[in-house]
């Protein structure tokens, strides 16, 4: 008895019944049906790397209105579309990011505004400045018609507290209602008291920045003009720990996802990531800026942070990477004094000396707007193949390439030459000395002078 079967396909089984139905599709993952699959995959990776470059248009728009350089910004943690900004002439504004218009103004400061912060519930805005005042403002509730009209409201401060010295920075506690100002010393304030509830002083130098820990509400980090980074605990009457570095730290940001880690934006152009419990050595040094880093802000995902620098550029770093993944610059952007990562991790805002706030995409080639599931899958596939072949020279070159402004490019080359020469010299010195007599200190430790408990 012969048993015979041949492949037989009826058209009905393999096509749709009605024209409204979806087309039937069939999968067979057999590798032998797809010859040259690795070459095809590499080609796709190459294409997606090139497409990423083509679609890299990070600049979304500028928000102009201030009449002096932007000194500081604050995000409203309770309202995604709003951003507060303050300028050197004492002007504070609330912006609607979607329309890129001023929603309202907060007049009152007489000198430059140095610090701006919003309470966690988003109701109270705290500002401080060189006119030695701390002002508290009630934030207007966002309403639908507000965003459309161009009428700019003015708001009166709900409280004005006068201090003895100029204030340099302010930050609000997470969850509770304390805030900290810095200046000649670090002051802790309550919303309802006209005097600080607590003051800390360690050394005589001005404290220039302060940031509360997002995980532990009583812990805050501050940097001072004596090149120190100090960690304070509000439950103790004296500061907890302090390190002194070779150069001043301009700003500090805590990692919101790993709240024991903080990153310091330093005057020497590097950012240093520290473990707050073990400050004698940086965990990672983020190099790329060629001039002082003025401000730093973490993405809410904790995987990236954005920095603004005196070299007129904004960079985005991975939290554990030594070099930046992205640089943003335009011809008209001047020294960047403040940067913020938006609360949905999609945008980056930079405020600079040229009185503009600029809005950038966090991923330069990201497609904005509603994305269909098929598009989303395609983007994910492209990302995956690019990631798979990122080590190959052609793809690496395309993905890494960034156009730099000439001054930054030149300064990079120069500093590289200097570093190389220094390293070579050190290596030679070590080679010609008795073993063990010359110790190479890693960069993670080299810039730290001492740790004081």
């Amino acid at each position: 008895m012969v048993k015979i079967k041949v492949i037989s396909r009826s058209v009905d089984e393999y096509t749709r019944e009605r024209s409204q139905d979806l087309q039937r599709v069939f999968h067979n993952f057999d590798p032998s049906l797809r010859p040259m699959e690795k070459a095809v995959e590499y080609q796709r990776a190459l294409t997606s790397a090139k497409l990423e470059k083509i679609f890299a248009r990070p600049f979304v728009g500028a928000m102009d209105g201030h009449r002096d350089g932007i000194s500081c910004m604050a995000k409203n943690p309770n309202y995604l579309k709003g951003i507060f900004s303050a300028s050197m002439d004492g002007d504070i504004r609330l912006w609607d990011i979607a329309t890129r218009r001023t929603v309202c103004q907060f007049p009152g400061h007489r000198g430059s505004v140095r610090g701006l912060t919003v309470s966690t519930d988003g109701n109270v805005l705290v500002s401080c400045g060189t006119d030695s005042t701390v002002r508290l403002w009630n934030v207007p509730r966002p309403s639908l018609e507000d965003s459309d009209t161009s009428s700019e409201k003015s708001i009166e401060p709900s409280a004005v507290y006068v201090g003895k010295n100029a204030f340099w920075a302010v930050d609000h506690q997470f969850e509770r209602d304390l805030f900290a100002t810095t200046g000649a010393q670090l002051d802790i304030w309550n919303h309802n008291r006209s005097q600080p509830v607590q003051s800390y002083q360690w050394g005589t130098d001005t404290v220039i920045s302060v940031r509360f820990n997002p995980g532990e509400p009583d812990i805050l980090a501050a940097s001072a003009g004596d090149r120190s980074i100090t960690i304070y605990d509000l439950r103790m009457s004296i500061p907890a720990r302090k390190i002194i570095m070779m150069t001043k730290t301009n700003s500090i940001a805590w990692n919101p996802m790993e709240p024991m880690n903080l990153t310091a934006a330093n005057e020497d152009g590097n950012c240093y990531s520290f473990d707050g419990r073990k400050m004698d050595e940086a965990k990672c040094v983020h190099k790329d800026h060629v001039s002082a880093v003025m401000d730093i802000d973490f993405s809410p995902t904790g995987r990236e942070f954005v920095t603004g620098s005196y070299d007129r550029s904004v960079r985005i770093f991975p939290y554990n990477g030594g070099h930046s993944r992205e640089i943003y610059h335009t011809k008209r952007m001047q020294r960047v004094f403040c940067v913020k990562y938006s609360c949905d991790a999609t945008y980056v805002l930079s405020g600079s000396d040229d009185t503009n706030i600029r809005l950038w995409k966090a991923k330069a080639s990201e497609q904005l707007g509603v994305i269909l599931p098929r598009e989303q899958r395609k983007h994910e596939y492209n990302e995956a193949v690019k990631n798979r072949y990122k080590h190959l020279p052609e793809i690496k070159r395309i993905v890494r390439h960034r156009h730099l402004p000439k001054p930054i490019h030149k300064a990079t080359l120069e500093s590289r030459a200097m570093n190389d020469a220094k390293r070579k010299k050190d290596a030679k010195r070590k080679a010609h000395s008795a073993p063990g007599s010359v110790v190479t200190v890693p960069l993670r430790k080299r810039r730290i002078i001492k740790e004081v408990e």
Partner: protein, 536 residues
């Protein structure tokens, strides 16, 4: 995919209680989808890289498992077969017997088209097996839709047609005619005349690269890009006229069979063949490649078919007493050989990695028909035969892949799907450099090759050779006293000296040995002085 796996688990419990057996079967299938061994992570010192690679390997393993499960449970069709019991032999089963057993739809796939005046015919199928192109020697070109057996277009070009080939899909096809090769659209309009390639004898299309390979009467192999018309390569093979050309589907390397009995492999980026094999003592009459690219079948005029392993470049099997004018491998690895009016299909009877081809089916056509070309229809159990009196089609159970992938080759493709695929295949077009013997090397690291230092003995031997060569040089006859014996000896001495000088002396005098510093002391030295320390 997640939904499917849940279903799988349920089915597994209901259908087969012997789970171990299933596991063994799935493991064997997984191997295919893993595409080779994973990286050896034990050797890595970089912890970060190690963990990254480990997680990636995990994903690969998982997806291979999914694919194996899908193959086991979810594929809609199963392969054809022809099984006999007892003394019955598979090759005794005739086409008429098969026609009785199979359904009406399949029995319609057996037919003969008799066109006595225009043959012999060459046939070609599209990758999905939906369309067939037949080209008669006397200038008859016919494009047929095989699904509903409709003739889409036939044209009479009015001159000799030596070969036909589909390009990317049925929209365009190429024909090698008397003086030039031409490209036609599916409606019969002439799209291009490839004047540069001259009188072409064979045409083949490299699908991933969009290259049309052609070999002409004077043995020139040309690769022409069909997207922009540029000539990617024009190679003079220097082996004379040939009409045996085949593309290895695994790596798109082009094989030519020559009258001297050699088979040569070519890529667009090299003017010389990648390698040449002497396969037969007489002319090679046909070459065919297994779809996995590891097996090659050749036939020679000396009535032998040989099967070669292309990984080891050695012969696996010789089948005697059969002169095949044309050979063709099916998707499942059956080998069809045609000569005169007789077709023999050979099957791989051994299991596992070794190969043993023995006869599987026979088919005799009407006496006097001369078979010109055999080609298995993809995704069907059908063998297309082009012969001197038209073309025929017979059923070979178990030859085709039963399950197609809609994104690779879809016989039921709609117009919209076709358009989309055209765009995607253009985006995935490969550059001609990717035609190489082992395409899995792309994206892999080249192992670091240590530069070997010649040993002292080798240097000595080389020096001896150079001195000998210097001594044995014939000096020219000079005039004006410069040919004196003393001058000649001096000249020779100089030559020897210079030969010696090109090898630096390797002397190790006792004095220099003494100055060397012992190993114990070396530990206390600065790094710059360590190179003077003695090495053991």
């Amino acid at each position: 995919m997640e939904v499917n796996t849940e279903d799988n688990n349920v089915m597994e419990k209901v259908l087969l209680p012997d789970e171990q057996e299933i596991d063994v079967e799935l493991e064997a299938k997984e191997k295919k989808y893993l595409r080779g061994e994973g990286a050896n992570l034990e050797l890595l010192k970089d912890k970060k890289l190690k963990s990254q690679l480990a997680s990636r390997e995990k994903i690969y393993g998982k997806s291979a498992k999914y694919a194996a499960k899908i193959e086991k449970w979810l594929l809609p069709a199963s392969a054809g077969y022809l099984e006999t019991e007892g003394l019955e032999k598979t090759w005794r089963v005739k086409q008429t017997d098969i026609a009785k057993e199979v359904d009406i739809l399949s029995s319609r796939k057996q037919y003969d088209i008799v066109l006595p005046d225009l043959g012999p015919y060459k046939v070609d199928f599209t990758a999905s097996g939906r369309h067939m192109l037949a080209g008669g020697r006397k200038g008859h070109l016919a494009l047929v839709d095989m699904m509903n057996m409709k003739l889409i277009r036939e044209i009479q070009v009015g001159e000799t047609v030596r070969d036909v080939a589909f390009l990317q899909d049925e929209d365009l096809f190429a024909a090698a005619q008397k003086k030039y090769a031409y490209i036609y659209k599916s409606n019969g309009a002439e799209a291009h005349c490839l004047k540069e390639s001259g009188p072409v004898t064979r045409l083949r299309y490299l699908k991933n690269h969009f290259l049309l390979a052609s070999v002409n009467k004077i043995g020139q192999l040309r690769f022409q890009d069909t997207t922009n018309g540029s000539m990617e390569a024009s190679i003079r093979t220097g082996k004379g006229r040939t009409d045996v050309m085949e593309v290895n589907p695994y790596n798109n390397v082009v094989a030519l069979g020559h009258s001297g009995g050699t088979v040569t492999m070519w890529t667009p980026k090299m003017q010389a063949p990648l390698f040449q094999m002497r396969c037969h003592p007489g002319p090679v009459s046909s070459v065919a490649f297994h779809p996995n690219g590891h097996l090659m079948a050749t036939s020679g005029k000396e009535r032998k078919i040989k099967i070669w392993d292309l990984r080891k470049y050695e012969e696996i099997q010789t089948i005697h007493g059969f002169h095949a004018k044309t050979l063709s491998f099916s998707q499942k690895g059956l080998l069809a050989a045609g000569t005169g009016s007789f077709v023999q299909v050979l099957g791989d009877s051994s299991s596992g990695s070794s190969h043993n081809y023995s006869r599987y089916m026979n088919h005799s056509m009407v006496k006097g028909y001369q078979i010109e070309k055999l080609m298995f229809r993809p995704y069907e159990d059908v063998l297309g035969i082009g012969h001197s009196m038209g073309w025929s089609s017979i059923l070979i159970p178990g030859s085709g892949e039963p399950n197609f992938d809609s994104w690779v080759a879809n016989p039921f493709e709609t117009l919209k799907q076709k358009r989309e695929k055209q765009i995607h295949s253009l985006l995935d077009k490969l550059p001609p450099e990717t035609v190489m013997l082992d395409p899995s090397k792309i994206g892999a690291m080249r192992p670091a090759r240590r530069k070997e230092k010649p040993t002292r003995g080798e240097i000595e031997a080389e020096k001896e050779l150079a001195i000998e060569a210097a001594k044995s040089t014939e000096l020219k006859n000079k005039t004006k006293g410069r040919n004196k014996p003393s001058k000649r000896t001096r000249k020779k001495k100089e030559l020897v000296e210079s030969a010696k000088r090109s090898f630096p002396a390797q002397e190790h005098s006792a004095a220099s040995k003494k100055r060397r510093i012992g190993e114990e002391e070396a530990a206390e030295l600065p790094a710059s002085l360590k190179r003077f320390a003695r090495k053991k």
